[in-house]
């Protein structure tokens, strides 16, 4: 009896009447009501009071609605006897169909858009990579072009020297200090005050890092410094030396000097010598 009183006071019966209850609780309340007349009576009392509360809060619907509602039910009056209670009203089925289609359409459209987006992204990446490649190639070609243009300029310069009649060529031959066969060819233009060494025909022993060859002009018995050079077998150009003021020279000579050159030639190390 105590249990039943507690059950009533728990408030579950009120929630049952208000329809605010889980299906399991609902079944439980119905079982309790069937077994205990006290609970059944309490439920009935709550239901009546809520029914009266609803009546007090009643709102009269518009008058046309009565015939509309009754017609909607009574039109198929004869057929309704066959209706299974569990059948959903037809209205619900009609609503469900049209919403299905647009949903699918948007799903596919979205998927298609996404696929298109990814495809264009990949195409764009490929195109970008190719563009980069082309740009690199253009840069390489430009630098090659530049190089060749430089080379052509340079070669034309050298060709100019050979054509220029003011240049005189002189072969400096080996002295006792140098190995037999050592030779240096120079070109001298007194008019242009230029002296050049033909590196292509240079035949000199390789100098070490501490030493360099130095070119001298002997003018009126005195040596004049014309600059230093290395015996580099790879170089093939005409190396331009320091400007020479004298119009007449006795001879040209090359000595081996400490790197950077000396003020006065070390006569012991004279390698080649040549006279006009």
């Amino acid at each position: 009896m105590e249990d039943i009183k507690a059950y009533i006071e728990s408030g579950i019966l009120e929630l049952y009447v208000l329809g605010d209850i889980t299906p399991e609780e609902k079944l439980q309340v119905e079982t309790m009501a069937a077994n205990h007349p006290v609970i059944k009576a309490e439920l009935d009392d709550i239901e009546r009071s809520m029914e009266q509360y609803a009546e007090h809060n009643a709102v009269e619907p518009s008058e046309q609605l009565r015939s509309r509602v009754l017609n909607s039910i009574l039109t198929n009056f004869g057929d309704d006897r066959n209706f299974d209670a569990k059948n959903e009203p037809v209205v619900n089925n009609v609503v469900a169909l049209p919403t299905q289609k647009p949903n699918n359409f948007y799903k596919y459209a979205f998927a298609a858009c996404l696929a298109l987006l990814i495809a264009s992204g990949i195409a764009l990446m490929n195109l970008y990579n190719k563009l980069q490649e082309s740009n690199t190639q253009i840069a390489i070609l430009q630098s090659n072009n530049q190089h060749i243009a430089n080379r052509v300029n340079f070669v034309e310069g050298e060709l100019g020297i050979l054509r220029d009649t003011s240049f005189k060529f002189l072969k400096l031959n080996a002295t006792a200090h140098a190995p037999a066969g050592a030779a240096v060819t120079i070109a001298w233009s007194p008019a242009k005050k230029k002296v050049m060494i033909d590196m292509a025909s240079l035949k000199m022993p390789l100098n070490d890092k501490a030493h360099q060859y130095q070119l001298w002009a002997i003018v009126a018995g005195k040596p004049v410094d014309l600059g230093v050079f290395d015996a580099n077998p790879d170089s093939t150009d005409m190396k331009e030396m320091k400007e020479i003021a004298a119009v007449k020279t006795d001879a040209f000579a090359v000595t081996l000097e400490p790197r950077g050159g000396s003020v006065n030639p070390t006569m012991d190390e004279m390698m080649v010598l040549g006279k006009f």
Binding site: S10, L43, E55, H56, V59, E60, S72, F77, F83
Partner: protein, 183 residues
């Protein structure tokens, strides 16, 4: 209100007639309960046309699924009002109804707000005044949230910021007050 005499039957007669699917049963059902049910529906759905649609759906559903009702489970009205409330809440939460509501004109909102603020004279609500004095404000607000607005007691606890136990107690006290008042 209506010139035509309204049909009224006892609950036992009505249930029997509905079970036999007699024409008079549905007419009597409408006359006896439409205003009580509409009172609940129209508080959940303020739009008149939509509320009337739900009332129609409610009667259609009552008629078609009447075989699932049994007198042992409780009173007829309790069963019907739950159908009405559930249909109204379904409607309120349906996609169509939400979309439709977004496009409400300003004009409609004026009457809507008027109705909410109770500035419109409603003769059918006259009897409520004495009831309001019977219920304490906090009891009435909870009862109306659950009974008329379709909140669960859990949602009502959230809305009012009150513990679940208190909600249950207040609901019970409110209904006890009503029982005292009506009997």
């Amino acid at each position: 209100m209506s010139k035509k005499r309204k049909i009224s039957l006892s609950e036992e007669e009505l249930v029997l007639a509905l079970r036999n699917r007699e024409k008079i049963a549905i007419e009597a059902l409408y006359d006896m309960y439409s205003s009580s049910l509409y009172g609940v529906i129209s508080r959940i759905i303020t739009d008149t046309a939509a509320a009337e649609d739900v009332l129609q759906e409610t009667f259609v559903k009552i008629w078609h699924s009447f075989s699932s009702y049994s007198t042992e489970k409780g009173r007829l009205f309790t069963w019907m009002v739950n159908i009405a409330r559930n249909l109204a809440i379904d409607k309120l939460r349906s996609k169509d109804f939400k979309n439709q509501n977004k496009n409400q004109e300003l004009e409609n909102n004026v009457t809507f707000i008027d109705e909410q603020r109770n500035t419109v004279y409603k003769p059918e609500l006259l009897g409520i005044k004495e009831l309001v004095e019977t219920l304490k404000p906090e009891q009435k607000s909870i009862l109306d949230l659950v009974y008329f607005k379709g909140y669960t007691h859990v949602e009502a606890a959230d809305e009012l910021g009150v513990p679940l136990g208190t909600i249950k107690t207040r609901l019970r006290m409110a209904i006890l007050q009503l029982r005292k008042h009506f009997n």
